[in-house]
């Protein structure tokens, strides 16, 4: 009795650790600790289940331990070997496997036990959601990893097809519940569910996969909760629901961060890279205050490149404030002053002196170009012509031959300006489409003010 209770308490602790862990995970400072808490919570749950005396049956320790060791090794290796950049794909795979796990369980339950109707509904739901999560995640993985292109898996009128498919699956669901259930029908159902998962993700743009993964992740959570109902296990139930809810909110937040609605994302058919502004064929990637602030905050060296836009926005003082904040956190901050930046000789000097930027922080063209390759982040504040690579590599350009700041040699480039419009010289700037460049659109002063707020919150 007391042992049983301990098991229950262990589950309870597991649930609390899940909540607390995810709570800590949502702030950069504590995120790592939060992940640890959640992992401990999971350990509580697994150990409690392994020891729970109330579960009667064969025991089958070998099978369990075998499966666990196998899974742990694979999971561990996959997580450790994967390249940093491929992590989202990995998450997608993991999530798919979680969904598959739920689907397998539900299948077994459907086939082996005599379930009452309620339990049948729940098991079928777990089966459906788990299957969708499985194939959907796998396709998301393939897309994210660049192994499959959107065009390879989309058909004409894909969204319509998906709607029809969904209706069929649900009809079969109801039929299975209300009418007699046969193994064949179940298999058909499983196949349809798996197929629907694939087809559901197929028309969604590759760049939107993170949103999809988050959504499928909350699906997996729900399927776990459903499984929890089947087995009468509170931790699964609570954990699943909790993750389901958190995942849903997260999905919505991710859409908001891209200025899109979830519907908009799911209906799909978007360009390969969402969130940017198009100009002709090329697409520039855009970013926002939160990501940029964290990028700046956690880098070793930052260099600002002020231009005429700084003057127009009168952003010199907030820029200095951002500088101060970053310096206070050990970031090395410099300013690269191009000789013709602005609209009069010494324009940037006037502004930065007004903001009291100490002179030793101002680098002229040569010093700046020497320092750029060792700089983590270049922040271009309303400059354009003076950072135009055409001066270096496009002999046809009217500014070819002019010395410019080679900002693209740094690790990251953030460009603060209001639009894709050209500067004084009236020429396009390839920098904006560079691999390492992200555009941060908006009035420079407002943008920097937002950065300041975000950095303060870190």
């Amino acid at each position: 009795m007391i042992f049983n209770t301990s098991i229950d308490v262990a589950y309870l602790i597991g649930a609390i650790l899940f909540v607390w862990g995810l709570r800590l995970l949502s702030s950069p400072d504590t995120a790592r600790k939060g992940n640890g808490y959640a992992a401990v919570g999971m350990a509580f749950g697994i150990i409690a289940t392994l020891l729970d005396p109330r579960i009667e049956g064969g025991g089958n320790v070998v099978w369990i331990v075998g499966g666990m060791i196998l899974g742990a090794i694979i999971g561990w290796l996959a997580a450790k070997k994967i390249k940093m950049t491929a992590m989202p794909q990995m998450v997608s795979v993991f999530n798919g496997l979680g969904g598959a796990c739920a689907a397998v369980l539900a299948t077994v339950e459907m086939t082996t036990m005599g379930l009452d109707m309620g339990a049948e509904v729940i098991a079928l739901a777990a089966l459906l959601i788990g299957s969708v999560s499985f194939t959907g995640s796998m396709l998301a993985y393939l897309k994210l990893d660049g192994r499959i292109w959107d065009s390879q898996v989309t058909w004409p009128k894909h969204n319509r097809i998906n709607q029809v498919l969904l209706v069929i699956v649900l009809a079969l669901f109801v039929y299975l519940v209300l009418r007699s259930y046969t193994l064949t029908l179940l298999v058909v159902f499983i196949i349809l569910a798996l197929f629907y998962g694939w087809s559901f993700v197929a028309p969604i743009g590759g760049a939107d996969m993170p949103v999809v993964i988050s959504l499928l992740n909350s699906f997996t959570g729900l399927s776990a909760a459903a499984a929890g109902l089947i087995y009468g296990n509170q931790l699964m139930l609570v954990g699943g629901i909790f993750v389901g809810a958190a995942g849903t909110i997260l999905t919505i937040l991710m859409c908001q961060a891209m200025n899109r609605s979830l519907m908009n994302v799911l209906i799909g058919g978007f360009t390969a890279t969402g969130g940017g502004k198009d100009t002709g064929d090329q697409v520039a990637k855009s970013t926002n205050a939160i990501d940029t602030s964290i990028l700046l905050f956690y880098s070793k060296s930052v260099m600002f490149v002020p231009g005429y836009g700084l003057a127009v926005a009168q952003a010199q003082k907030v820029l200095k404030e951002l500088d101060d904040l970053l310096e206070a956190n050990g970031v090395d901050v410099k300013y690269a002053i191009h000789p013709v930046a602005g609209r009069m000789p010494g324009h940037m000097n006037v502004l930065l002196a007004e903001a009291d930027v100490p002179y030793p922080k101002l680098l002229d063209l040569e010093d700046a170009n020497a320092a750029i390759p060792n700089t983590d982040v270049m922040v271009i504040v309303g400059a354009n012509d003076v950072v135009n690579p055409a001066a270096v590599d496009d002999p046809a350009s009217s500014i070819y031959g002019m010395p410019v700041l080679k900002v693209w040699e740094a690790k990251h480039v953030i460009v603060l300006k209001r639009s894709m419009n050209p500067g004084y010289a009236g020429i396009q700037n390839q920098l904006f489409f560079h691999d390492r460049t992200k555009m941060f659109f908006g009035d420079a002063k407002e943008s920097i003010q937002n950065l300041v707020s975000e950095v303060k919150n870190l």
């Binding site: 899940f18 909540v19 995810l22 995970l25 949502s26 702030s27 950069p28 400072d29 790592r32 939060g34 992940n35 959640a38 999971m42 289940t49 009667e56 064969g58 089958n60 099978w63 075998g66 499966g67 666990m68 196998l70 899974g71 999971g75 561990w76 997580a79 450790k80 992590m87 990995m90 998450v91 993991f94 496997l97 979680g98 796990c101 739920a102 397998v104 369980l105 077994v108 993170p210 988050s214 992740n217 909350s218 997996t220 399927s223 776990a224 929890g228 296990n233 699964m236 609570v238 909790f242 993750v243 389901g244 809810a245 958190a246 995942g247 997260l250 961060a257 939160i290 990501d291 956690y298």
Partner: protein
């Protein structure tokens, strides 16, 4: 309809619990910086591996010669375990960059 009402009646506490859990899920996530979206998704994904508990229960319950259940159960355990272990490990790696500084 009737069944739903019955269900509500029978599981009132459960419903409270579920709704409060949902509220808690919302509340906990509602103000998260964009840069944490991916780690958070990854962490949440690892937690959703809690379904492995079901797989363990399944096997423990099964007769020692119910190879159908055992096989599928073990498969489920392995899948779940990949999700759990891989999930937490990958999240931890993602979060390494955040350990550098303290304010």
């Amino acid at each position: 309809m009737d069944q739903i009402i019955h269900f509500i009646n029978d599981n009132l506490l459960l419903i409270y619990l579920l709704i409060f859990t949902v509220l808690l899920g919302f509340e906990v996530i509602s103000k998260v910086p964009t840069v944490l979206h991916t780690p958070l998704m990854s962490g949440a994904n690892a937690i959703s591996g809690v379904v492995i508990i079901g797989a363990i229960i399944l096997i423990r319950r099964s007769a020692t010669d119910d190879y159908f259940s055992l096989a599928f159960g073990t498969l489920a355990i392995a899948l779940g375990m990949i999700n759990v272990v891989g999930g937490f490990a990958v999240t931890d790696r993602m979060l390494e960059m955040f350990k550098k500084k303290k304010k």
